[in-house]
């Protein structure tokens, strides 16, 4: 019983992963498309690209790197702190 349950869970896991992957591919494609065709202005393009990248990264972290599982509080805490510090540092260097 439990085993069967596990197997079906795995199937749903795999499905979840494939869907996440598909979304990522689509997001990437949009990003490349926007740049290749040059259809929107720079001011708009940069934030859009950043948002697309951020969504992708969240998908990776959440589904592929298993942060959706239980007991990952500290992982999320440290990663979040790391990202905040990373952003502050990178922006700081850039805007010197």
């Amino acid at each position: 019983m439990a085993k069967q349950n596990g197997a079906s869970a795995n199937k749903s896991q795999a499905l979840k992963h494939v869907i996440a992957f598909a979304v990522m591919i689509v997001l990437t494609a949009i990003a490349f498309y926007l740049v290749a065709t040059n259809i929107i202005t720079m001011q708009l393009l940069v934030p859009i690209l950043l948002v697309l990248a951020t969504i992708q990264v969240i998908l990776q972290l959440y589904f592929f790197m298993h942060l959706d599982q239980k007991g990952t509080g500290f992982q999320i805490l440290f990663m979040a702190a790391g990202i905040v510090i990373a952003v502050v540092s990178a922006v700081g260097i850039l805007l010197m």
Partner: protein, 202 residues
Amino acid sequence: MESQAETATEHLESSTLEGKNKILGFWLFLAAETVLFACLIGTYLALRGQNMGGPTTQDLFDLGLVAVATGLLLTSSLTSVFAVNALNQKKQKGVQFWLGVTVLLGLAFLILEIYEFVHYTSMGHTFVSSAFGSSFYTLVGTHGAHVTFGLFWITGLIIQVARRGITKETAPKVFVSTLYWHFIDVVWVFIFTLVYLLGKVG
């Protein structure tokens, strides 16, 4: 429903304290790596305009190539997560197969990158030609070095799994190596966005 099913799945990788420690420790390491790459990216962005008369980002980058490379790496991320699914089901063959595919995709990515570097060098954009050159090769090269290390590591793990099977010891190792692989992909997402796409639009 979903969460109920999840408890039923076995998580061999975190069944021991050593396993749990390893996973948490590796996450902390990845958090540190985030700052490391952020510093490199910040440096690159600050210096990317300093091409000293050499080719500019627009002259250099070829979106097609980058799109292919991105596709390879994204797919390898998916295959490595399949390896973990197989791990949860204790399917040793599955683990080996999916890790193997991951390595092959990663290798293809690496070859593309090497080709890219050689190509750029021939265009007069080298490590020492300008501050832009130095920062570009350092950022993308550091990512490439991570890919290379990952390839060795995962290959080593395939052998280890083949020899010892899936145990309380090998499971966390496989799990952690896939975390590493996804992280490389995460970094790549920012590299292709901030370096290549933004570089293309100027």
